[in-house]
């Protein structure tokens, strides 16, 4: 009866306009938050290198070829780079100072061997389980991260030999060997090697730091190891600044690493703007609904006043208005979520067609933002209803 008295004769057209406004705002909010999160996740796990991490070296010029400028990094240079706000960490990429011969040691694959260049990086930069990335003297295998290009080359070689190419997982079961030796070949040692992961971004074979130290201590001729590459980890979405620094310092990295970082920065900024607009849109649409609530209460001022005079408790009338609006916003939220799911279906398809493989699961954050918007509206509508009713008391 109370609902009939208070809500039956309202202006339905205004209510529908308020609902459409709130619906658009909510859908906009969930969609932008979802894709912002997905974009941030983009690229994570695709490579064994951590997100926003690049390997840089000094650009080789004619003068460096002639030995007039240095191509190695001093500790001071690394410290200077690390002091920049947009750089999280800078660590040297340590290379071997001894000879390494890499070969297959498995009857299932044809013999293949090559002199290789191995490197090690701080494990903080790698997205690999720590237990899979350690080595100590006496271990059966040396774990190794292989450049994917290397596997492609191996597969090409195997195809040419009439053997089917192998996948990443199968490659991890193939036995390899390192033959370590000093320059004069007077000291030699053979060690079994197993692939722990692949990288698209590193061109050399990566080994654990402990193995590199062992090799350099045991087989090096004692000459000082130069740092010709460093690993830089940039802050999320600040790759534009990292690129500027590289340009300024005459450094270079693999283009693909920079492109992904820049893409994420640009789209991240764009989505940030969209998110800002969405929050304003939700705020405005919430305001439209709250204004409608105020209008409804003003139109029902006589009814509310009379009900209280009849003996209805103000809280009961507040609750009636509050529940009505909570239901409306609940309806708007569910509709917004459904609209987002439909939109997501088309957007995910469009993004996949465009060649970007982002995850399709709904993010917790987008649902969280919906719940937060709902709670904020709930609190605001209760306060508005309370203020409106006690004005008539």
């Amino acid at each position: 009866m109370l609902n009939k008295l208070l809500f039956k004769n309202q202006d339905k057209k205004q209510l529908v306009i308020a609902i459409i406004g709130a619906l658009l705002g909510i859908t906009f909010l969930i969609t932008s938050i979802h894709y912002l999160i997905k974009l941030n996740e983009f690229g994570e796990g695709a490579d064994i290198l951590g997100p926003n991490t690049i390997i840089v070296q000094k650009r080789v010029s004619n003068s460096s070829t002639l030995g007039l400028t240095k191509t190695d990094f001093s500790l001071k240079e690394m410290e200077k780079m690390k002091s920049k706000k947009f750089i999280k960490d800078v660590k040297p990429v340590v290379a071997n100072n001894f000879d390494v011969f890499f070969r297959t040691a498995d009857s299932l694959v044809p013999p293949f061997s090559s002199v290789v260049f191995i490197q090690t990086v701080d494990s903080e930069f790698l997205e690999i389980e720590p237990e899979k990335w350690n080595w100590k003297l006496g271990d059966e295998f040396v774990p190794m991260i292989m450049p994917r290009e290397f596997l492609i080359m191996l597969n090409t070689f195997m195809s040419a030999s009439g053997i089917p190419p192998i996948s990443d997982d199968l490659a991890k079961d193939i036995k390899f060997e390192f033959k370590l030796s000093n320059n004069s070949n007077s000291k030699k040692e053979t060690m079994k090697v197993r692939i722990a992961g692949f990288s698209n971004e590193v061109s050399s074979l990566l080994v654990p730091e402990s193995f590199m130290n062992y090799g350099n201590n045991t087989f090096s001729d004692g000459s000082l190891q130069k740092i010709t590459q460093v690993m830089i980890s940039g802050e999320e979405g600040k790759f534009g600044l990292v690129e500027e620094l590289l340009e300024e310092k005459g450094l270079e990295s693999k283009k693909s690493q920079m492109v992904v970082g820049k893409l994420k920065s640009i789209i991240g900024t764009l989505f940030g703007v969209v998110l800002g607009i969405s929050i304003i849109a939700v705020f405005m649409s919430g305001l439209v609904l709250i204004q409608y609530l105020q209008l409804l209460m003003t139109r029902n001022a006589y009814e509310a006043r009379t009900l209280m005079r009849m003996g209805y408790h103000p809280e009961k009338i507040i609750k009636t208005f509050f529940l009505y609006f909570v239901k409306i916003f609940g309806f708007v939220s569910i509709l917004g979520l459904l609209l987002f799911i439909v939109l997501k279906f088309f957007l995910d398809n469009a993004i996949a067609t465009g060649g970007l493989g982002i995850g399709t699961t709904i993010t917790y954050q987008s649902i969280g933002s919906l719940i937060l918007a709902y709670l904020l509206f709930t609190v605001t509508s209760y306060r508005t209803a309370r203020k409106g009713i006690f004005k008539e008391y």
Partner: protein, 213 residues
């Protein structure tokens, strides 16, 4: 419930000179069980009396108390309980809901305390000869019919005091007598009291007390 007006003077009436027997500015006690006539000409504050007693206006000096409790100290919960179970009012402007039917207007009030059954409400309407209006919107009824609906609505709760502000102003003598008889019976049944404000007409009823403004 005893109602005491201790030198009450509503702000709008402060500039008017009131007689020695006026309830304004004097010490007046409304004792339980009495049927009181409040007699005054227009503009003397009959409606102000109703709204002041009912706690709707606070712009007065002096002290209004229920059972020796200052009404200024009553909480929202207290007022709700009082309006639901202790004091019922027939306002001069009736304060019905014009877009609801007679049935809905009565049930909206009656449902708070379940005082009457639907059948009893219909019987009351029948006694006042408006039972045929049960499903009609109050907004389409004549003022006299609306007054009778408002009277029945005021009866649809337990009360200690029934305050009526010129409730028969649009009724003919026959309907006035029927209403007054019903009010008298119900008030007696409840061992309650009422205050009836008029412009001077006693409606041939024997009141226990007569107050002036």
């Amino acid at each position: 419930m005893k109602i005491k007006l201790d030198h009450i003077m509503p702000a709008p009436l402060a500039s008017i000179e009131h007689g020695k027997d006026s309830i304004w500015g004097n010490d007046i006690e409304l004792k339980p069980g009495k049927k009181i006539l409040l007699n005054a000409s227009s503009g003397k504050g009959k409606s102000t009396f109703t709204t002041t007693i009912f706690g709707l206006r606070r712009d007065y000096t002096g002290t209004l108390s229920y059972d020796d409790k200052d009404t200024r100290n009553l909480t929202v919960d207290d007022w709700t309980k009082i309006r639901m179970e202790q004091i019922s009012v027939v306002f001069q402007d009736l304060q019905l809901f014009p877009k609801l039917t007679v049935q809905e207007n009565l049930i909206l009030k009656n449902s708070l305390t379940d005082t009457f059954t639907e059948k009893e409400l219909k019987t009351l309407l029948e006694r006042l000869e408006i039972d045929n209006k049960w499903n009609q919107h109050c907004g389409v009824l004549s003022m006299g019919q609306q007054q009778r609906v408002a009277i029945i609505r005021a009866l649809a709760q337990p009360y200690s005091w029934l305050i009526m502000d010129e409730p028969f102003s649009h009724l003919d003598e026959g309907n006035t007598q029927r209403c007054l008889k019903m009010l008298d019976e119900r008030t007696t049944d409840l061992n309650a009291s009422f205050v009836l404000t008029t412009l001077g007409d006693h409606h041939s009823f024997k009141f226990d007390q007569e107050l002036n403004l």
